[in-house]
């Protein structure tokens, strides 16, 4: 205090721009952004239309099919993915519990959402990861963007998403993908960069084109790491669907949100556990599948 009496004012209170000029700047940026969105609204709508269709189709398929069919299909996928009877039984038990507690439909909605998000994250993430691995320039440019995407509080980028796409499932989906795609990109990049240089040299020595090199050597050898990326992406999508329910995504996340607003302790936890159950099923299955892909490295000689 005493110090501030002798020091000039601008050292004590940070000399911010005047409230007025900040308000002006903020307003013009917001207005400009809104105007921009408004003038491209048709294009934006057309662009996200396929997503909407895909998501609706999957959601309807999951929700309207008889539950035994869905359950059997799920168990088949889990079993053939993991080849592990314990994981399969665990899946069966948790899905039955979810059904008994009346959360089946909400779970199906969430499942459809996570499936589409993961799918899109893979389609976007792997090519970007490959580009990043091929060029240090791209890497030094993409990395900071990923840092921002991962550390920016997820609520914050709901704002531009809502401004551009409005409220609804598709904006939620886009928010989830933005949140979940960074590990996909990073781990694809990492996996390709870690491929043994000697093996790549051999591929070159036999005259591989860069596509052949990618397809025959880099992708197969990076696959375990890429699988880890897919696993991470799924986990992050599941975490983000709760947040995305704020912009109109249904399913378990919406129940959790309502439970928070109304202090429904039991409902909140039941839905939370349903999310955890799905997460564990996805995680164990994709990890077991990833391990099976590495069969060639089972026996190790010096």
């Amino acid at each position: 205090m005493a110090l501030c009496e002798v020091l000039p004012g601008f050292l004590c209170k940070f000399p911010a721009f005047s409230d007025n000029s900040i308000r002006m700047a903020r307003k013009s940026i917001d207005d400009g952004f809104k105007a921009l969105v408004r003038s491209y609204i048709d294009i934006i709508d057309a662009a996200v239309q396929p997503l909407q269709v895909f998501l609706n189709f999957l959601e309807r398929l999951f929700v309207t099919s008889p539950w035994p069919i869905i359950l059997l299909a799920m168990l088949a996928i889990v079993y053939f993915g993991s080849r592990n009877i314990r994981i399969t039984i665990g899946t069966a038990l948790s899905m039955l519990a979810i059904g008994l507690l009346g959360l089946w439909n909400d779970t199906m909605v969430t499942l459809a959402m996570v499936t589409v998000c993961t799918f899109i994250a893979i389609i976007i993430g792997i090519p970007i990861g490959i580009l990043m691995a091929r060029s240090d320039r791209v890497q030094s440019f993409v990395n900071p963007v990923l840092d921002v995407m991962q550390t920016m509080p997820s609520f914050v980028y709901l704002i531009p998403v809502v401004m551009i796409f409005g409220i609804g499932k598709v904006p939620g989906l886009i928010a989830v993908v933005i949140y979940a795609v960074p590990p996909m990109i990073r781990l694809t990049n990492l996996g390709i960069r870690l491929v043994d240089k000697e093996v790549l040299e051999a591929a070159d020595a036999f005259g591989s084109s860069s596509w052949q090199r990618l397809k025959n050597v880099q992708i197969p050898l990076a696959l375990p790491t890429i699988m880890a990326g897919i696993n991470q992406t799924i986990m992050m999508s599941l975490a983000m669907v709760v947040v995305a329910s704020m912009v109109g995504v249904g399913g378990l996340g919406k129940n959790v949100l309502q439970a928070i607003n109304n202090q429904f302790f039991t409902v909140g936890f039941l839905n939370g556990f349903a999310l955890v159950a799905i997460a564990i099923i996805f995680d164990r299955t994709s990890q077991a599948y990833g391990r099976r892909l590495q069969k060639h490295s089972e026996v190790i000689h010096g």
Binding site: E198, A205, F206, G207, N216, L221, K295, H296, V299, H301
Partner: protein, 347 residues
């Protein structure tokens, strides 16, 4: 189709971000150690001039770190030179564009790697067909060709194993089969036999010699084993600190080592297998005596022939049977045990 010679001309390789800047200084005598200490660049190769015989085996030797792998990688341009050229059939490999280089690698070269460099996610047979697959040869045919070589290198029954289920020597033979399946004019073999046991090693040397008799490929063969070098090499070059210290036929190098480095290198060699009879024959005096021995026969074989025939004197004849000189058993034996030419030079 006959292979062509490979001409390496004035080749320099300086590893580091700014290698080109130091070529002049290296030409003016800047050494490997100094370049590394003062400028942080590694001198890989300096002023290499080697003419590798067409359809013959060129052996490259040298201690660890002398630049052998660096040199062989220039021939298919896995490494770009800092200066100089590598000519094959009159074309400078180092100036080819991406497409030509790819075609050159696909159809003219095949390589065996020091550290095997197999594709770990592919089985033995899938590794072996790799070169042909890249060229777009139909699967059935490439598998048939690969199968032949897998059997020839003694890996029948292991076709569907993954590399890390095999021992080091077996992996090396997969690398060998992979290169041979490619059926290219140039075979680059970077310590291709180093992980093999002595029996298989001799067998693989025979494979290479048989292949040479039939197909006359241009082979570049790196080895640490002088006996192997002498058995296989039509020509041998010895590297030290990225420089060629001596090159010539095996006999030339054994008989006239250029300096102490090479003398040390050739000291332990089995001279009886390297030195030819005509090198130590004395002029004919009177009629040719004993058994005829053709020019080019190694001392060891000559001694064996004379012992079998129970004679102690023999005469050397040229390929047409014309007598050229005579040798006796004691001269042969003394040439096998003492470095004749060194003493002669010293005297």
């Amino acid at each position: 189709m006959a292979s062509h010679a490979i001409e390496v001309k004035n080749l320099y390789k300086i590893f580091g971000p700014n290698g080109k800047a130091f070529v002049e200084q290296v030409k003016n005598g800047l050494g490997k150690a100094e370049l590394n200490e003062k400028h942080g660049h590694v001198l890989g190769l300096q002023n290499i001039n080697i003419s590798m015989p067409a359809g013959g085996v060129m052996v490259v030797m040298g201690l660890s770190g002398s630049g052998k792998s660096t040199l062989i990688r220039h021939i298919n341009r896995l490494i770009d030179p800092t200066a100089g050229e590598v000519l094959y059939d009159g074309v400078d490999v180092c100036k080819m564009n991406e497409n030509d280089l790819r075609e050159f690698r696909r159809h003219k070269t095949a390589m065996v790697f020091q550290k095997f460099a197999l594709l770990p996610h592919r089985t033995v047979i899938e590794n072996t067909v790799y070169g042909l697959e890249i060229q777009g040869v139909p699967d059935g045919e490439s598998r048939k060709r690969a199968q032949g070589w897998i059997e020839r290198v003694g890996l029948k029954g292991f076709e569907n194993h993954y590399p890390n289920q095999l021992s080091g020597g077996m992996q090396q033979r997969v690398g060998l089969a992979r290169a041979l399946t490619n059926d290219a004019d140039i075979l680059l073999m970077d310590e291709a036999y180093s992980a093999l046991d002595p029996l298989i090693r001799v067998d693989m040397q025979t494979v290479l010699l048989d292949l040479q008799k039939e197909l006359k490929k241009t082979v570049v063969f790196i080895t640490h084993d002088l006996d192997e070098a002498l058995r296989l090499g039509d020509k041998i070059a010895i590297l030290r600190d990225g420089k060629v210290v001596q090159q010539g036929t095996g006999q030339e190098i054994v008989l006239n080592p250029a300096d102490e480095y090479i003398t040390a290198f050739v000291k332990e060699v089995n001279r009886g297998r390297v030195i030819h009879v005509e090198t130590i024959m004395s002029p004919l005096s009177g009629n040719p005596q004993g058994v005829p021995i053709t020019v080019g026969t190694a001392l060891e074989s000559a001694a064996r022939m004379m012992t079998m025939a129970k004679v102690s004197v023999a005469h050397v004849v040229d390929v047409n049977g014309k007598p050229l000189g005579s040798v006796d058993l004691s001269a042969i034996i003394s040439a096998m045990v003492t470095p004749v030419s060194h003493e002669r030079q010293a005297a």
